[in-house]
C-alpha cells in the first residue's frame, strides 16, 4: 500500500509539469518609497498636467496626491470598491469592481457627472480590476482580475466592442499605457508585463519584489510608480531599462 501511495504521488508530480517561461523577468528595485494616508489604495493614474496622481481605494474613495503620495484633495464622491482609474483632459474615470460601474468625474471639483454600467457576472472580487485608455486601439480597456483575466475594449459610451482572454499571468491588478506599450501589473506574481498594445503579446517582463502591488503609472519623464495595497506604500522605480536588442 505504501508503494501505491508513493507511486501515485510520483505520477501526480509528473502530470503537474508545465512549460517553463522562457523569458526571465528583469528585477527592478525601488529608488524611493512613501507611506500613504489612504486606506487600501488600489490604483493610481497621472493627472493631465503631470503634477499629481489620482489614487482610488478599496473603500470606494478618490484622492488627489502629489508625486510623493501626499494628499492634496479628496473627492466627496464615494463608491464601494474602486479598483482602477484613468484621467484624460476631460474626465477622471474610475471603475467600481463590485457594481461593475464606470464613473466619470470632473477634474475641477472631483464630482461625478456620468455613470455607465458594464455588466459582468463574475463573483464580486473577480470583476474589473484595471482601467486605462489604449490609443493604439482608440479604446478604453477594462480588465477582469482573474478566472479568467479578460481585456474588454470599450468605446466612449463604454459599450464592449471586443474581448480578449489574457493568459500567462495568474491575475491582473492594474494596467496603464505609456510610450506605445501597454503595461499589466500582477498582484500575485509581483510582476509588470510590457505588451504590444495592438496584439497584447508580451515584449518584456519585470519583477518588482513588493507585496500586493495594485496600482501602476508612469510620469511624463517615464519614471515608474507602483502602489502596494496591503502596505499602503507608493514606490518610485525610476525609468525602465532600455530594451536590449537581440
Amino acid at each position: 500500500m505504501f508503494r501505491i501511495t508513493i507511486g501515485l504521488l510520483t505520477i501526480l508530480c509528473w502530470l503537474s509539469i508545465v512549460k517553463v517561461q522562457a523569458q526571465k523577468p528583469v528585477r527592478l528595485k525601488p529608488t524611493n518609497q512613501f507611506h500613504l494616508s489612504i486606506p487600501e489604495p488600489s490604483d493610481l493614474c497621472l493627472t493631465p498636467d503631470g503634477a499629481h496622481f489620482y489614487v482610488v481605494s478599496d473603500n470606494g474613495l478618490l484622492f488627489e496626491t502629489d508625486l510623493n503620495g501626499t494628499i492634496t484633495r479628496q473627492s466627496t464622491f464615494s463608491a464601494y470598491d474602486l479598483e482602477g482609474c484613468y484621467a484624460d483632459a476631460d474626465n477622471v474615470y474610475v471603475v467600481d469592481e463590485r457594481t461593475r460601474k464606470v464613473h466619470l468625474l470632473d477634474h475641477k471639483n472631483l464630482q461625478k457627472h456620468h455613470t455607465f454600467e458594464v455588466p459582468y457576472m463574475a463573483s464580486r472580487n473577480r470583476g474589473y480590476e484595471s482601467l486605462c485608455f489604449n490609443p493604439a486601439k482608440s479604446s478604453f480597456l477594462l480588465i477582469s482580475e482573474k478566472d479568467p483575466s479578460t481585456i474588454f475594449e470599450c468605446d466612449a459610451s463604454w459599450r464592449v466592442q471586443n474581448e480578449t482572454d489574457f493568459k500567462g499571468l495568474s491575475d491582473i491588478s492594474a494596467a496603464t499605457y505609456y510610450d506605445g506599450k501597454l503595461y499589466l501589473l500582477s498582484d500575485e506574481a509581483h510582476q509588470l508585463w510590457e505588451l504590444d498594445a495592438v496584439t497584447y503579446s508580451p515584449t518584456r517582463k519585470f519583477e518588482l519584489g513588493i507585496i500586493n502591488p495594485e496600482g501602476v503609472a508612469f510620469d511624463k519623464s517615464g519614471n515608474l510608480y507602483v502602489i502596494s495595497d496591503d502596505r499602503a506604500i507608493l514606490y518610485h522605480f525610476g525609468p525602465l531599462p532600455s530594451p536590449t536588442k537581440p
Binding site: M1, I4, T5, L8, L9, I11, L12, C13, L15, S16, I17, V18, V20, P39, E40, N59, G60, S78, Y80, R98, T99, R100, M121, A122, S123, R124, R126, G127, K146, D147, P148, S170, D187, E188, A189, H190, L208, G209, I210, I211, N212, S228, D230, R231, A232
Partner: protein, 427 residues
C-alpha cells in the same frame, strides 16, 4: 498478487486522476447587483477517497469510536463527500453583510440524522461593517479562536485538519456575537465574542442549564503587511511575512456528563473550561510554516468523571498540545508539498480513565505516580496538492501516520490512512 481490495483501491486512484484532469477549464462564477445590494453565489464540490490500512481481520470489526453504529467497519476503504457546499454572500451598500453557507454533505451522520459535530449549516450570520470604530457580526459563525480552525479548508494543504483543531476537542462554530476591528492597515486584528457555549449543538436550539455563555477573545499582529488566513504562500511572498495570534476562551457549563460523552468529553465540559493558545504563521518565497499551541484547564463539577478516584487529590486537569507544519508551494510544478506533526494530550491525569492516581503538572499535585504519556497521541502527516486550475480545481492527497495513540481511549486504531480528494470550487 494483488487482492481484490487492492485492485479496487488502484482503480479508485486512477479515477481521481482522470476526473481531476477533466476539470481543468471548468468555471462558474455568479454575482448579482441590484442597486446597493450585491449577492454572490459560490460553492464547492469535494469528493474524497479514504484508504485505510487497518490491519487484522482476526481482531474483528473496528467501529466508530464512541458510536453506537455497528455497521461501519473502519477496516474498509470508503468514498465520502467532504463538501457539497453552497455559499451565499451578500452586501448592502458599505454597511451590511450577510452570509449563508450550507454543506449538504453533512446532512446525515453515520448514526443517522444531522451530524452535530459537523452540522450542515456552516455559517449563517449578519454583520454591520459601517463603522470605522467597531464592526459587529451576529449569528452562527466560526469562533475566533485558533488560526488553524479559522483558516478555510480551501486555503490549507490538508484534507483533514489536525486532531486538536478539527472540532472534536473544542467547538469551532457557535451562535453568538463578535465585535471586531482592524488597525494599522489590517496588520492588527482584534476580536471579542460571546457565544452560547454549546458549540455546533447550539443549532439544536437548546441552552445550558447553567445559563452561562462562553467568552472568547483573539488578537493578531502581522508584519510587514496584513496576513491573510492562508497556510500556503500562494503569492510567493517576495519579502518575509509573519503573523502572531493570541487567543483565549472561558466557559462554565452545567451539562450532565452523559450528554457530553462524544469524543474526548472536552467540548462541553460539566464545569469550567479555560483555554488559551497562540499561533505563529510565516511565509517567504513559496515556503510557509505554522505553529499552534493550546492549553486547556478543566475543572469538572464531578472530578470522578475525568479522573476516577482522584477527586480527593485534585479538582482539575489539563489537556492540550501543539501543531507544527511546513509547506512549500512550487509554482512551476503547480504543486504544494506539506508535512505536519501534531501532538495532543487529552488528559494529563495519567490513566485517569482507568482510575489510576497521577501527577497534575499545572496544580503541582502529586498523587502517587509520576507523569506519563498514555493519553498523548502524536501524528505525522504529509500532503501533496496539485493545482489543476488554481485552487478552483485541485487534487489533494494526504497520508497520515500515527506515531502514538491515546491509550486511554477505546477504538483509536494506530493505523495510517491515505486520503485523496478533488476540490472543485465555483466562485
Amino acid at each position: 498478487m494483488a487482492t481484490t481490495s487492492t485492485l479496487k483501491a488502484r482503480i479508485a486512484l486512477c479515477l481521481f486522476v482522470v476526473f481531476g484532469l477533466a476539470a481543468l477549464d471548468l468555471k462558474a462564477q455568479i454575482s448579482i447587483n441590484a442597486g446597493k445590494s450585491n449577492l454572490e453565489i459560490s460553492g464547492a464540490l469535494y469528493p474524497i477517497f479514504n484508504m485505510r490500512y487497518v490491519p487484522g481481520s482476526a481482531s474483528g470489526p473496528v467501529y466508530w469510536p464512541f458510536s453506537n453504529n455497528q455497521n461501519a467497519d473502519l477496516r474498509n476503504n470508503r468514498f465520502e463527500m467532504r463538501n457539497i457546499q453552497l455559499n451565499l454572500e451578500g452586501r448592502y451598500a458599505n454597511d451590511w453583510e450577510y452570509q449563508i453557507q450550507i454543506n449538504f454533505a453533512k446532512i446525515a451522520s453515520p448514526d443517522g440524522g444531522p451530524d452535530i459535530e459537523n452540522p450542515p449549516l456552516m455559517e449563517s450570520s449578519v454583520s454591520y461593517v459601517g463603522s470605522r470604530h467597531i464592526k459587529v457580526k451576529a449569528g452562527f459563525q466560526k469562533i475566533p479562536y485558533s488560526r488553524s480552525s479559522l483558516t478555510s479548508y480551501t486555503q490549507m494543504p490538508y484534507i483533514r485538519r489536525a486532531e486538536m483543531v478539527r472540532g472534536e476537542v473544542f467547538s469551532r462554530r457557535d451562535v453568538g456575537v463578535v465585535l471586531y476591528n482592524s488597525y494599522w492597515n489590517q496588520r492588527i486584528n482584534l476580536f471579542a465574542g460571546m457565544f452560547t457555549g454549546q458549540g455546533e449543538a447550539a443549532l439544536m436550539g437548546v441552552n445550558d442549564r447553567s445559563g452561562n455563555f462562553e467568552l472568547v477573545a483573539r488578537a493578531e499582529v502581522a508584519y510587514p503587511s496584513r496576513y491573510r488566513n492562508r497556510e500556503i504562500d500562494d503569492n510567493i511572498s517576495p519579502v518575509p511575512m509573519v503573523v502572531l495570534g493570541v487567543n483565549g476562551r472561558t466557559n462554565t457549563r452545567g451539562n450532565i456528563f452523559a450528554s457530553d460523552s462524544l469524543n474526548y468529553g472536552l467540548k462541553n465540559l460539566n464545569g469550567t473550561r479555560n483555554m488559551w493558545g497562540f499561533d505563529v504563521s510565516a511565509q517567504y518565497m513559496g515556503w510557509s510554516a505554522q505553529f499552534e499551541y493550546h492549553l486547556m484547564n478543566m475543572r469538572p463539577t464531578v472530578m470522578a468523571d475525568y479522573g476516577q478516584g482522584l477527586q480527593a487529590y485534585t479538582d482539575n486537569f489539563n489537556a492540550g498540545g501543539f501543531i507544527t507544519q511546513l509547506n512549500y508551494n512550487c509554482q512551476p510544478l503547480r504543486s504544494v508539498f506539506s508535512i505536519r506533526y501534531d501532538r495532543f494530550n487529552s488528559n494529563d491525569l495519567v490513566g485517569a480513565r482507568a482510575g489510576e492516581p497521577n501527577y497534575n503538572f499545572l496544580s503541582g499535585t502529586v498523587t502517587g505516580k509520576a507523569y506519563d504519556s498514555r493519553s498523548t497521541q502524536e501524528n505525522i502527516t504529509i500532503a501533496y496538492n496539485l493545482k489543476l486550475n488554481g485552487w478552483n480545481s485541485a487534487l489533494r492527497a494526504q497520508y497520515s501516520q500515527p506515531i502514538k495513540v491515546d491509550e486511554t481511549l477505546p477504538g483509536r486504531a494506530a493505523d495510517p490512512q491515505l486520503r485523496l480528494g478533488w476540490q472543485y470550487l465555483f466562485r
